[in-house]
């Protein structure tokens, strides 16, 4: 028992260590020429553009459900407060739900893809081949992915915010019979630039987490198709857990900072 707990703990911390080393290595390789332009734009399309439908759907339903639940709750509790629905929806989406839900959807969609792709390259010796052809796998594979994550996640998060707010507004208008101007007014009233910044900072961190952990798990893949499957699953679980963990850390740091 003690041995099992010990070995899990050791492997947990050694993985954190390895990921940190990979992060440093990636940072060091970002400025190396030639910049892998083609891979970078490919990843922007893969992580960003192709994830638009799934983020759109997540955002609409999140905004709508949030508006519906808070709207009904407020109507039944304190009459006359329901016009705050817009502000409440917007605030929760911009600060918390937008960045987190968007990042979790991207983890499932793009993170798994990155791990599967790099993992397959690993088990078919393509990573070894890269090295024998005088290329650095971190520079060629990880740098474009991490940079694409840093660029794409904030954009997708802002997109999620806007769509969720509009989704909430549609519900407020059609279901709760609210005036859309009231909804917009409270939204603008309650959401400050700081709230938006908090969301964007989080999304940048999540962008790094998703692409870095996904690449790391890909590089660690061993043993054929089964290994690729295992590391893909592990990658998504690890990314989601770390997103939630860092969300708490960032929330508490940035809220006390305000």
């Amino acid at each position: 028992m003690i041995r099992a707990v010990g070995s899990v703990t050791i492997s947990f911390f050694s993985q954190i260590g390895e990921i940190s080393i990979l992060l440093a290595e990636t940072a060091r390789n970002i400025f190396r020429r030639p910049f892998p332009k083609r891979n970078f734009f490919e990843q922007i399309v893969k992580i960003g553009w192709s994830s638009l439908p799934v983020t759109f759907f997540t955002a609409v339903s999140t905004g709508a459900i949030l508006a519906l639940q808070t709207g009904y709750a407020m109507m039944s509790m304190v009459k006359g407060t329901e016009h705050y629905v817009g502000g409440i929806v917007a605030l929760s989406v911009v600060r918390e739900l937008g960045p987190v839900l968007c990042a979790i959807m991207i983890a499932g969609r793009a993170g798994s893809g990155i791990t599967a792709e790099i993992g397959t390259m690993k088990v078919t010796e393509q990573i070894d081949a890269l090295i024998t052809l005088s290329s650095n796998p971190v520079h060629y594979l990880i740098v474009p992915r991490v940079l694409a994550g840093i660029v794409v996640l904030p954009i997708l998060t802002l997109f999620t915010d806007v769509v969720a707010i509009l989704g909430g507004m549609a519900v407020a208008f059609f279901e709760l019979g609210m005036n859309e101007m009231q909804y917009i007014d409270t939204t603008i009233d309650m959401v400050s630039m700081t709230d938006i910044n908090v969301g964007v900072v989080k999304s940048v961190v999540f962008g790094v987490l998703i692409t870095l952990i996904a690449s790391f798990q890909g590089f660690r893949t061993q043993g054929g198709a089964e290994g690729v499957g295992k590391s893909t699953t592990r990658s998504v679980v690890l990314i989601c857990m770390s997103i939630l963990f860092f969300d708490y850390i960032l929330s508490s740091v940035m809220t006390t900072g305000i």
Binding site: P34, M121, T124, E125, Q126, D128, A129, L130, I131, T132, L133, S134, S135, Y140
Partner: protein, 266 residues
């Protein structure tokens, strides 16, 4: 330290390696002479590929070193190491082509990355190398559109694209039909004649080994137990080598289980 013989292109000296808690290489000593083709034979999983990957710098030894033109590969600076290894080409077991790139881009991958070549020059190199391996006109295909044998030939074209001094072959004929395997053997002989390269091949295909080798070394239990010309190996008195080259299930090389002829455990 310098290499033992002046014509020694590569020398493996006292190489020990433990991988995943398994003691794989237990003191390998192996000189490889300039311009020769050395074939390393041995059972699957005996560390042949691991040895090959040490020679091309993909693995780092626990102790011992690889001397390339007299320079210890794992003691020189990172820049020097890169420079030494740039003159190496490797054909991987499964070809290891980059499947997101075309055949042509695979062949000149190194040239594209170095950014020192014009499009025209690279097109010329692609055409020339694909011609050498007998696959002209395939430059714009994706690796997935090729058969296994064709992929291996593209892998070879990629390995020779930068005119290497040393080519390493990891199981070049494994998984190919006998005719395709023989074509690959011919290609390896052709490369040696045309490019005057030093070659090291790892295989357990004895037909291939006899055909391409100048010398054959057998790796057993993490050590080189015999080295000789194909003729010497064929007439060896070493019981381990004898059992291996004749593909005999019974002999001093222990397998997991041995069964008698009627299927009962011996």
């Amino acid at each position: 330290m310098t290499a033992r013989a002046p014509d020694c292109a590569i020398e493996v000296r006292g190489l020990h390696k433990t991988l995943a808690e398994k003691y794989v290489l237990k003191g390998v000593d192996l000189p490889i002479y300039r311009g020769e083709t050395l074939v390393i034979i041995g059972q699957s999983g005996c560390g042949k590929s691991v040895l090959l990957k040490h020679i091309i710098g993909l693995h780092f030894p626990d102790t011992g070193d690889i001397f390339i033109n007299g320079e210890p590969l794992n003691e020189v600076s990172a820049g020097k190491r890169r420079e030494i290894l740039a003159s190496f080409g490797m054909l991987f077991q499964g070809a290891a082509l980059f499947d997101s790139l075309t055949v042509g881009e695979n062949v000149v991958f190194r040239h594209i990355q170095s950014r020192r070549y014009s499009k025209k020059e690279m097109d010329r190199i692609v055409a020339e190398k694909l011609d050498m391996v007998g696959l002209p006109g395939t430059a714009n295909l994706k690796p997935a559109e090729l058969s296994g044998g064709m992929q291996k030939r593209v892998g070879l074209a990629r390995a020779i694209a930068a005119d290497p001094e040393v080519i390493l072959y990891d199981e070049p004929t494994t998984g190919l039909d006998p005719i395709m395997a023989d074509q690959i053997n011919d290609l390896i002989l052709h490369m040696k004649k045309m490019l005057k390269v030093t070659s090291i091949a790892v295989t357990h295909d004895m037909v291939s080994a006899y055909k391409i080798a100048d010398r054959i070394s057998m790796l057993y239990n993490g050590q080189v137990i015999e080295t000789g010309t194909p003729r010497q190996i064929q007439t060896t008195s070493n019981p381990y080598v004898k059992q291996f080259i004749h593909g005999d299930a019974y002999g001093p090389i222990t397998t997991v289980r041995s069964f008698g002829q009627n299927g009962r455990r011996k």
